[in-house]
């Protein structure tokens, strides 16, 4: 699997941010697919055979939010339930963070407090270590 790049699905509603994130991830040698709503994200998952990690914002376009999305893919019959999820959002109360953690996301970041390269480095590390273990 060394030839194929690892794929990160970025689900973010703001276009400017989406562009910046996409750019940075690509500069880190990984592939990116993007979605701006939970519905779009589900489509992406079904169309793409390979997704190694998910970058998820809480507030999304459309009626569903990040939690709805996580609930959708984390239930027992889902083939995507083992994809590591990193929630990167701006303001989510600790009660919602708890919900995310309970649902099984890997980590939660507050955008405004974190550097872009920091988050991406974290994600990259995580999925590459998983691959090594596999």
């Amino acid at each position: 699997m060394k030839n194929e790049k690892q794929v990160i699905l970025v689900i973010e509603d703001d276009q400017s941010l989406l562009m910046a994130i996409q750019d940075k991830i690509q500069r880190n040698g990984l592939a990116v697919i993007t979605a701006r709503s939970a519905e779009q994200a589900m489509l992406c998952l079904s169309k793409n055979s390979r997704v190694d990690a998910i970058w998820l914002d809480h507030y999304l376009l459309g009626r569903e939010d990040g939690i709805d999305f996580v609930q959708k893919i984390k239930h027992n019959d889902s083939i995507w339930k083992n994809i590591p999820i990193f929630v990167v959002s701006n303001t989510v109360g600790p009660d919602k963070v708890e919900v995310y953690i309970r649902l099984g996301v890997v980590k939660y970041y507050t955008k405004a407090e974190k550097r872009l390269d920091g988050i991406i480095a974290d994600i990259k590390n995580y999925i590459q270590n998983i691959n090594i273990n596999n």
Partner: protein, 548 residues
């Protein structure tokens, strides 16, 4: 009474007998001697006879008398005695000492008198006893009659009282009914079997029924309370009230389903009703429609949430694009370009901080935040906050001193809020102290009456002090230091960074925890902030969001 009957009879009898004897003898003599003697001698004999006759007569009378005495006297005595006896005089004793039948009779009479006397006495005693008994019994009866009268009176008065009480009760019930119906909240009372015994209009209306339809039935029939999230029946608050005999409150997450199936968000509380022996006999439930309240709360916290999201998104854009520019991702920057982009980046960072602080302030003001205290190690918290400043401390070559009391107990506090206090005070101290200065933090326990920063402490508390040898606060501006967005002139002069909200937030948090904050400062000498927090810790507070 024949007074001298016997004597008379005896005397007459003896006299007659004597006469007869004399006559007989005389006749005999005369007859016999008449033949022999002549007239003269005969006369002489007859005259001698006549001469003797009185003497004989007297002699006979005497003898008769003696005999009579011997017989008549005792008989007389006996007669006397019997007479007395007959009259009822039992105290006389007759003395006849003739040593014959008369004496016996006298003795018998005496004995009889004695017996009669003792019988009489006994009879008297008996009769007295009887009298006494009868008297007593009469008294008893009288007393009983009195008692019965008293009892009857008491019953009558008790009946009156009961009637009065009944009237009072009816009045009270009417009063209670009136109160219940004028209460704005829904109120209902269930008995041990969970049947509704009282329900007011508000409660019935909310549920969509008439009071009569609900009374007497189990409350679960018509008053359907469910958990908001799961839709499952919520009978917890009543069950727990019965179980624990304590008031149960459920602020959120209970929904009442009315007759038409509409969901009404309610906040309820259940209080057990206890009798004199502390047994639960029922439960009072009060609940109200909090849809509006919840909506307002929700709206408030959503506003803050939305505001923070909307405000922060563009800030994140600026943040990351500046980051990428500075990182050379889209080409290398020359020195000036780098400098300028750095300014953009720094300006943005300040904006981020300001937005954070404003959001916290807004939550504080709207009251939509949560205080969740748990036992925390205050020293560890302080150290962790301090460690975040290590780069700045090192950069300014500040001397950082820490004094922590020995074996300080755990403190019941919301760690996020307390952390903000330390972060703020420490970062201020570091920010507003020139190079080579000193910053120190001190945490200890202080007893009531002890002195802290020139103030006497009222109760046993945690004492925190953060001091520095920095720019200080001008005397003229000290009173405004805790106000929103206030920055002292010298601070603004030295350092353009700073929101002016930090101390406001710190004070709000300290006040919330039941503590106090004050400071001592002298311009260009330094500042020391003092905080006391009650040993008991922070109190839990319900709300919509956590601060920060």
């Amino acid at each position: 009474m024949q007074k001298n009957g016997i004597r008379k009879k005896m005397v007459i009898s003896c006299f007659l007998i004597t006469l007869i004897v004399i006559a007989a003898v005389s006749v005999f003599f005369i007859v016999n001697t008449g033949k022999l003697v002549s007239g003269e001698v005969l006369d002489r004999i007859i005259s001698e006879l006549l001469f003797i006759t009185p003497f004989i007569l007297a002699f006979v009378v005497l003898i008769i008398y003696l005999i009579a005495s011997k017989i008549v006297a005792p008989i007389k005595k006996l007669r006397e005695a019997a007479g007395f006896l007959a009259k009822g005089d039992l105290n006389r004793e007759v003395s006849v000492k003739t040593q014959d039948e008369f004496e016996d009779m006298a003795n018998s009479l005496n004995e009889m008198a004695l017996n009669l006397r003792s019988d009489k006495i006994e009879l008297q005693r008996y009769s007295q006893g009887l009298e006494k008994t009868v008297k007593e019994k009469m008294e008893d009866l009288e007393n009983k009659v009195i008692d019965l009268k008293i009892a009857r009176d008491k019953i009558l008065s008790a009946a009156n009282d009961i009637d009065e009480e009944r009237q009072k009760t009816i009045k009270e019930k009417d009063k209670i009914d009136a109160i219940l119906h004028s209460i704005g909240d829904g109120v209902f009372v269930v008995d041990k079997d969970l049947r509704v015994v009282i329900i007011n209009e508000v409660a019935a209306n909310m549920a969509g029924y008439k009071a009569e339809e609900v009374l007497g039935k189990k409350y679960t029939d018509k008053l359907k309370f469910i958990f908001e999230e799961t839709g499952k029946v919520n009978s917890q608050f009543i069950d727990k009230a019965f179980e624990t005999k304590a008031v149960q409150k459920m602020f959120n997450h209970t929904v009442l389903i009315d007759k038409d199936g509409n969901k009404i968000q309610v906040s309820d509380s259940a209080a057990p009703l206890l009798d004199a022996d502390f047994n639960v006999v029922g439960c009072v439930v009060v609940f109200r429609n909090v849809t509006k309240e919840r909506d307002v709360d929700k709206a408030k916290s959503e506003f803050v949430s939305l505001a923070s999201h909307q405000l922060r998104t563009p800030l994140s854009v600026i943040n990351w694009y500046s980051e990428m520019l500075l990182g050379g991702d889209v080409g290398k920057l020359n020195e000036d370009q780098k400098k300028y982009v750095e300014e953009v980046y720094k300006g943005n960072q300040r904006m981020v901080e300001l937005v954070n602080s404003l959001l916290n302030v807004s939550r504080l003001e709207l009251g939509t935040f949560i205080v969740e205290p748990e036992p925390i190690d205050i020293v560890a918290l302080a150290k962790s906050a301090a460690s975040e400043l290590k780069p700045q401390i090192a950069g300014k070559k500040l001397s950082f001193k820490e004094y922590y009391g020995d074996s300080l107990p755990m403190f019941n506090a919301d760690s996020k809020l307390l952390r903000m206090v330390f972060q703020n005070l420490l970062s201020n101290a570091v920010k507003y102290t020139p190079d080579n200065g000193e910053v120190s933090v001190n945490i200890s326990i202080i007893d009531a009456g002890e002195n802290l920063g020139d103030k006497k402490v009222e109760e046993k508390s945690f004492a925190i002090s953060v001091s520095d040898t920095g720019y200080g606060i001008t005397a003229g501006q000290q009173d405004k230091i805790f106000s929103k967005l206030f920055r002292a002139d010298n601070a603004r002069g030295k350092d353009t960074e700073g929101t002016g909200l930090g101390l406001y937030i710190v004070k709000a948090i300290v006040d919330l925890s039941g503590g106090s904050i004050w400071f001592k400062s002298e311009e260009n000498k330094g500042t020391a902030f003092y905080i006391t927090l009650p040993i008991g810790g922070m109190k839990k507070r319900e709300g919509a969001k956590k601060l920060g």
